[in-house]
Amino acid sequence: MPSRAIPYLKAAVHVLCLLPFAYLLHLYRDGQLATFADPVSYITHFTGNWALWLLLVTLAVTPVRRIHRSLAWLIRFRRMIGLYCFFYATLHLATYVFLFSGYDTAGAIAGLRAGHLMAPWHQLVLIWPSMVDDAEKRRFIQVGLAAWLILLALAVTSPQRVLRAMGGKAWNRLHRLIYLAGFLAVIHYWWLVKTGVRTPWKDTAVLAVLLLWRVGLAVKKRLAARPKMSVVADV
C-alpha cells in the first residue's frame, strides 16, 4: 500500500465509522425515529450493537494483517476504529443515562429553554439514586459499565505522546485489556436478553475466534521460544 494513499483511506474509514451515527441522526431529524414503537430501546440497541461490532473489527485488524505481509498497513487504522468503538459505547452509556434511566430529558430541555441553566443538573440529582441502585444491583449493568471504563482508559492513553510517556511495554500491557472489554461486552449482551433468547451468539462466535487466534499464536510463540538442544554427534 503506497503511503500516500493512507490519508485518503483514513478519510474513508472516518466516513464509514460515522455512517451509523449519521443514519441515526437522519432518523431523528426527519421524524422517523419518533414513530418507532420504542425509540429509546431502538437507540439503545443501535448504539450498543455498533460499539460491539467496532470492537470486533478492532480485534480483527491484527489477525487479518497477519494473513499476508502486504496487509501490514492495516495497523494504521486500528486506533481510529478503536476510538470509534469508544464513541459508540459512550453514546450507548449516554442513552442509558439520559433516555433509559428515567432521567427526564424533555423536562431538562424545557427547563433550559425557560432559562433555568441548572435544570439538567437538577434532573440528574433526582435520578442519581436510582442509577446507583441499578449499578449496585444489576449484573449486566456492572459488566457493561466495566467494559466502558476499560474503553475509556484505552481511549485516554491512545495518543502517541501518551504511548511514548508510558513506554511501549506498559502501554501494550494496558491495551491488552481490550480482550477483557470484548469479553465483558458479550457477557453484558447475554445477561440482558431473556433466557432462551440466543441473539448474541453470532457476536460471541466472532469474539471467540478472534481471541482463540491470539491464544493459538501465544502457544506457538512459546513453543518456538523453547531452548533447543542440538545433538553434536551420535555416540
Binding site: L27, Y28, Q32, L33, A34, T35, F36, A37, D38, P39, V40, S41, I43, L99, F100, G102, D104, T105, A106, S130, D133, D134, K137, R138, R139, F140, W191, L192, V193, K194, T195, G196, V197, R198, T199
Partner: protein, 318 residues
C-alpha cells in the same frame, strides 16, 4: 359478530386477503427504501384503515382507560413479543403475515363435562364483542394503552362447563403456524395458565380484535386472552387449546427462568425483575424520542382484582 357474512369467510377468500396484506407490507417497505428498519416507520405514517384488516362490529364497554392516550396502532402492530415468529420485536410483523387464521379450531379439554373442538367463528359470534381500552404492561418495563375487542373469558368457560375439580385453566398456543421460526432456545408450544378465579374475573378478556379490527397476526390472531393486571406474557396468543386442570399448569417463561417470571406475574411495582426495576415503565403512546416514563401501578391500576389475592404474599407469589 363480523359485519361480513360468515359464509364469506371461507379459506378460498382468506388467501387473497393475506396475499394482499403481505403485498401491502412489502410495498411499504419498498416505499421506505430502508428495509426492515424502515417498515415500522413507513407503516406509522399511514391511517389506521390502511392495515387492511377486517373491521369488527363492537359494542362500547365501561372498561375504558381515559387518563392516558391510546398507543398509535402502528406502534402496537410493529412491536410484538411473539417468539414463535422470532426473537426481535419487529420479527412478528414480518414473519406472521404468512400464518393462516382460517380454518382455525380451539380444543376444549381436560376436566370438562364434554370435551369438544370449537370453530373459531362460532366462538367469535357467541357473544357481543366489546371494545375495551386497557393498560398493557410488558414485563420488560414498557407499556401501551390498547383498545382490545372481545368478550369475557368467563362466558366461554361457562359454555365449556368445567367440572368442580377444575382449579386452573391452561392455554396452549399454536406451534404450527406458517411463518413461525420457533427459536430453538424456547420450548414450544407456548403454554400459559390462570387460576380459575382469575380466568373467571370479568376483566379477563377473550380477545379477537384490537382497534376495532380483527387481531393482526402478529398480535396473536385469531384468538387470544388479555389479562390486563398481569405482565403481557401471561396473555397467551393464537390459542389452539384450552385445558381445564386441577393442578397449576406449567407455563413457558416460568419453566425457562422461574426466578424472573412467576406463575402469577401480577404487575407489581414493589417486586423488581432481577435485571431491572418494575417501579416505572416507558409508556409508548407518544410520538417523541423522549421516553414518557410513568410510575407503575399495583395490578396495573386494576385494584378490583386485589381480593383474588387476599392473604397471599405477593413478594413470594410474584
Amino acid at each position: 359478530m363480523l359485519i361480513r357474512k360468515r359464509a364469506e369467510i371461507a379459506s378460498s377468500e382468506i388467501t387473497p386477503k393475506e396475499t394482499w396484506r403481505a403485498y401491502q407490507m412489502s410495498r411499504r417497505r419498498l416505499l421506505a427504501g430502508l428495509g426492515a428498519v424502515g417498515a415500522a416507520a413507513a407503516v406509522a405514517g399511514l391511517p389506521e384503515s390502511a392495515w387492511g384488516l377486517d373491521k369488527l362490529k363492537t359494542v362500547p364497554s365501561s372498561y375504558n382507560v381515559t387518563d392516558r392516550a391510546v398507543t398509535p396502532e402502528a406502534k402496537a402492530q410493529s412491536y410484538n413479543n411473539f417468539y414463535e415468529f422470532g426473537e426481535e420485536k419487529d420479527d412478528p410483523l414480518h414473519n406472521a403475515q404468512k400464518m393462516r387464521i382460517r380454518p382455525w379450531t380451539v380444543k376444549i379439554e381436560g376436566l370438562v363435562n364434554k370435551p369438544q373442538t370449537l370453530n373459531i367463528d362460532d366462538i367469535l359470534n357467541y357473544r357481543p364483542i366489546e371494545n375495551r381500552v386497557y393498560r398493557f404492561r410488558c414485563v420488560e418495563a414498557w407499556s401501551m394503552v390498547i383498545p382490545w375487542d372481545g368478550y369475557p373469558l368467563s362466558e366461554l368457560i361457562k359454555f365449556a362447563d368445567p367440572l368442580p375439580s377444575a382449579k386452573y385453566v391452561q392455554f396452549i398456543s399454536s406451534d404450527s403456524g406458517k411463518g413461525m421460526t420457533l427459536p430453538s432456545g424456547i420450548e414450544f408450544p407456548y403454554s400459559e395458565g390462570l387460576r380459575m378465579d382469575e380466568a373467571m374475573h370479568p376483566l379477563t378478556l377473550l380477545t379477537f380484535g384490537s382497534y376495532g379490527e380483527v387481531l393482526a397476526n402478529q398480535q396473536g390472531s385469531p384468538i387470544r386472552v388479555i389479562v390486563p393486571w398481569k405482565y403481557g406474557f401471561k396473555s397467551a396468543k393464537s390459542i389452539v387449546k384450552i385445558k381445564f386442570v386441577d393442578k397449576q399448569p406449567h407455563t413457558t417463561w416460568n419453566d425457562m427462568a422461574p426466578q424472573e417470571y412467576g406463575f402469577y406475574s401480577n404487575v407489581n411495582p414493589t417486586v423488581d425483575h432481577p435485571r431491572w426495576s418494575q417501579a416505572h415503565e416507558r409508556l409508548l403512546n407518544t410520538d417523541s424520542i423522549f421516553p414518557h416514563v410513568v410510575p407503575t401501578l399495583m395490578f396495573n391500576g386494576y385494584s378490583e382484582v386485589a381480593p383474588l389475592y387476599a392473604g397471599m404474599d405477593l413478594r413470594k407469589n410474584y
